[in-house]
């Protein structure tokens, strides 16, 4: 009998311990759950985004919290920040778990475009479509910048600049700011979907649109429209690209040296961008201008190749140019993170959530969870403009595409410096 009692006691303790804290929390709070890469080579994405999200939530709570449907003020609570490692299967598993076992009203993740694309694919495509058994959970992504992702599901939301506009405006500005730059070439990492597609479908076309002449291998089909000549460009310039983990860039740098372009586009993440730029420096390739991929406008590039990257211009969705941005930057730095185009979106997303919740009547109780998620989604979808860290975040209600402000930064004396603000 004594043993049976012990067994029952131990079983009850085990059951109690195995129930997630968030599932039994009946407190009146607004729960959110985030995820991002907290392991693997892209760990900095998740670490910085988590620090930014938690810091912004702490700021919101210090200012009184969020007004709920019953008029009371409730704290926002980050009930977890999971590690999706920028892997599709991990992110989908976290999304499903979040939707079914937690009372988070919104999922916040996850930086990497390819992962968002896969994750958005398991969401219900059209809200209210009973024949679609997809997950009904609002997702608000920090970045996931690849164009077109928002239209995958009514439940997916992003906070990103529009890359097409960003590079369109960049080359338009370069045309006037650097009149002696007339020709261009470049390279990208082919195993990273965002880098390669953005380079061959957007960046090259926008450069052509503004009168820059492509001097790489002949691609007669290359034109000023998005994706015009994309496949032909991918095929023609295949030996001046690289992979993310490559260690040898001699062939690519020499090809680009021979092309003697005024402007070299380095459409790559920091590690391979640094390897390539260092090889260009060794081979004494000295273009008048280098243009980079937005994902490289980060501290990682300075850590990896400050000197070789000197002069590179990159459009980015964050720079500490306003008092709000400076304050956020300081707070996140103290929390052990770093604000960049990815993590700044996580900060802004916390305020987007507060704004959306206060637009509708969310109760934040377990019994109203599904209804709250629906109301929240609708409220988030109705927001077409909201103040962000460096300007107004906007969203096209018909296409679902977000558009946040951006600036152009350049590595000057080993530091990122804002050289142009198109909004000013």
């Amino acid at each position: 009998m004594k043993n049976i009692s012990k067994l029952i006691g131990a079983s009850m303790l085990l059951i109690a311990l195995s129930i997630p804290q968030n599932a039994i929390s009946g407190g009146h709070s607004l729960k959110v759950l985030g995820w991002g890469a907290k392991s693997g080579p892209l760990k900095s994405f998740g670490v910085n985004s988590e620090a930014a999200l938690r810091s912004a939530v702490a700021e919101i709570n210090a200012a009184g919290g969020v007004r709920m449907g019953d008029g009371s003020m409730a704290p926002m609570e980050v009930i977890g920040y999971e590690d999706s490692a920028c892997k599709k299967d991990e992110a989908i598993a976290i999304l499903r778990k979040t939707a079914s076992t937690t009372d988070a009203i919104v999922g916040m993740g996850t930086t990497c475009s390819g992962v968002c694309q896969a994750m958005f694919g398991v969401l219900q495509k059209k809200r209210g479509d009973d024949s679609d058994s997809g997950v009904q959970m609002p997702i608000l992504a920090d970045t996931c910048i690849r164009p077109g992702l928002a239209k995958i599901s009514d439940w997916s939301f992003r906070n990103v600049p529009n890359e097409i506009t960003m590079y369109d405006e960049l080359f338009k500005w370069i045309r006037t700011a650097y009149p002696n730059v007339k020709t261009f070439t470049g390279g990208s990492e082919t195993d990273q979907g965002h880098s390669f597609v953005t380079y061959t479908a957007i960046i090259a076309q926008m450069a052509v649109k503004h009168g820059f002449q492509w001097v790489g291998p002949p691609v007669p089909e290359l034109g000023p429209k998005v994706k015009q000549g994309m496949k032909e460009l991918q095929a023609a310039a295949k030996s001046q690209h690289w992979l993310m983990g490559d260690t040898n860039y001699t062939v690519q740098a020499r090809k680009i040296k021979k092309q003697n372009a005024d402007m070299v586009i380095v459409a790559s993440h920091p590690f391979s961008a640094c390897g390539f730029m260092k090889e260009m420096k060794r081979q004494r390739v000295k273009p008048k201008l280098m243009v980079g991929l937005t994902s490289s406008a980060s501290q990682e590039t300075l850590n990896g190749c400050m000197s070789a990257a000197e002069g590179i211009i990159i459009p980015t969705g964050f720079a500490p140019i306003t008092s709000e941005a400076k304050k956020a930057n300081s707070i996140v730095s103290k929390a052990g993170g770093f604000l960049d185009l990815h993590s700044a979106a996580a900060w802004e997303n916390a305020y987007l959530i507060k704004h959306a919740v206060e637009r509708t009547s969310i109760m934040g109780k377990p019994s109203t969870l599904q209804e709250d998620r629906r109301k929240f989604r609708n409220a988030l979808a109705s927001i077409t403009s909201q103040k962000g860290l460096i300007g107004h975040l906007t969203r096209d209600g018909s296409t679902g595409e977000a558009s946040k402000p951006y600036v152009y930064v350049q590595v000057v004396n080993g530091k990122w410096k804002v050289i142009h603000d198109p909004n000013s």
Binding site: K43, N248, V251, C274, N303, G304
Partner: protein, 298 residues
């Protein structure tokens, strides 16, 4: 004619660059082959430990503003230590007849080291000081990187030193004895674990130099380097002949040239496909590699 000459120059330069860069693969391959020669097992954590050594060397240089030679020395010492630890954790207590268990343990070791690096650096690439960074010699239409020439020389010197240790010292004799027949070696009074520990440490020392050399050649350190280097090291080891040190050197240079050539003529998407095809060709037609003694495939 002009086009033909231009292409000829480009292809020669491409192959030459590949050969020089292949010396980093050769250094990694030597470590793999040394351990395989001694134990008949593959240490998959080898390239990870080599890169980890380079990271520690870099960290020391950041804290103490050390010279590049000091960075290399620290990298070598740390990798030596890691080589010893990898032996103790992934090989020593695994049953000797169970090759798969040791292999999987060392794969675990690779991921563990990789994750430690990520934990310490958040995965961020780190600038690594170059060796003879400005030494780029232009001879007519050709260009030669001085730092890669140095890596090439280091590879040759390392091979000679290793061959000396293996064939002219008591330690080398003990290593070869353990490799040939461990029980007989033990009966002759050789301490197998001590010999294996020293072999792993020597391989680690070489790995530290290789890791630092590779990082200096790229100019950047990142955890994304460990898996590709492991794969290249394995390919080099198999093509060179498992257990053959001169084979690892020749195969390293050959693979470097081969992949650069195919990058030039077929592009990045197909480059690795040809390297893997080369591996298959060797596995089918010369399964013991370039230099290894012919043994029955069964």
């Amino acid at each position: 004619m002009e086009d033909f000459l231009y292409e000829a120059v480009e292809i020669i330069q491409t192959i030459w660059d590949g050969i020089l860069f292949g010396s980093t693969y050769a250094l990694i391959g030597i470590g793999f082959t040394l351990i395989f020669g001694a134990m008949g097992k593959l240490n998959m954590a080898y390239a990870g430990a080599a890169i980890a050594g380079a990271y520690v060397g870099l960290a020391v240089s950041l804290f103490f503003d050390a010279t590049i030679i000091f960075v290399f020395a620290v990298s070598a010492v740390i990798s030596t230590l890691l080589g010893y630890i990898v032996y103790q954790t992934c090989f020593r207590f695994i049953p000797t007849h169970n090759h798969l268990a040791a292999l999987m343990a060392s794969v675990g070791g690779l991921f563990f080291i990789d994750e430690l690096i990520v934990l310490a650096t958040l995965g961020s690439p780190m600038n690594f000081p170059g060796l003879f960074e400005d030494a780029y010699f232009e001879i007519g239409p050709f260009g030669i990187r001085g730092d890669l020439l140095f890596v090439f020389l280091i590879g040759i010197v390392s091979t000679l030193l290793l061959l000396y240790v293996l064939f002219k010292t008591r330690l080398g004799m003990a290593t070869r004895a353990v490799a040939q027949q461990d029980i007989a070696a033990q009966l002759c009074g050789i301490n197998i674990h001590r010999t294996n520990s020293i072999t792993f440490s020597i391989a680690g020392l070489l790995g530290g130099i290789a890791g630092a050399m590779t990082a200096a050649a790229v100019g950047v350190l990142s955890p994304v380097m460990t898996v590709p280097l492991t794969i290249k090291g394995l390919i080099v080891t198999v093509i060179g002949g498992l257990g053959s040190i001169p084979g690892a050197i020749i195969a390293g240079l050959f693979v470097g040239a081969f992949e650069n050539f195919f990058l030039y003529i077929r592009g990045i998407d197909e480059r690795d496909m040809y390297v893997v095809a080369l591996l298959f060709i060797f596995l089918i037609f010369r399964p013991n590699g370039i230099f290894s003694k012919t043994i029955n495939r069964d």
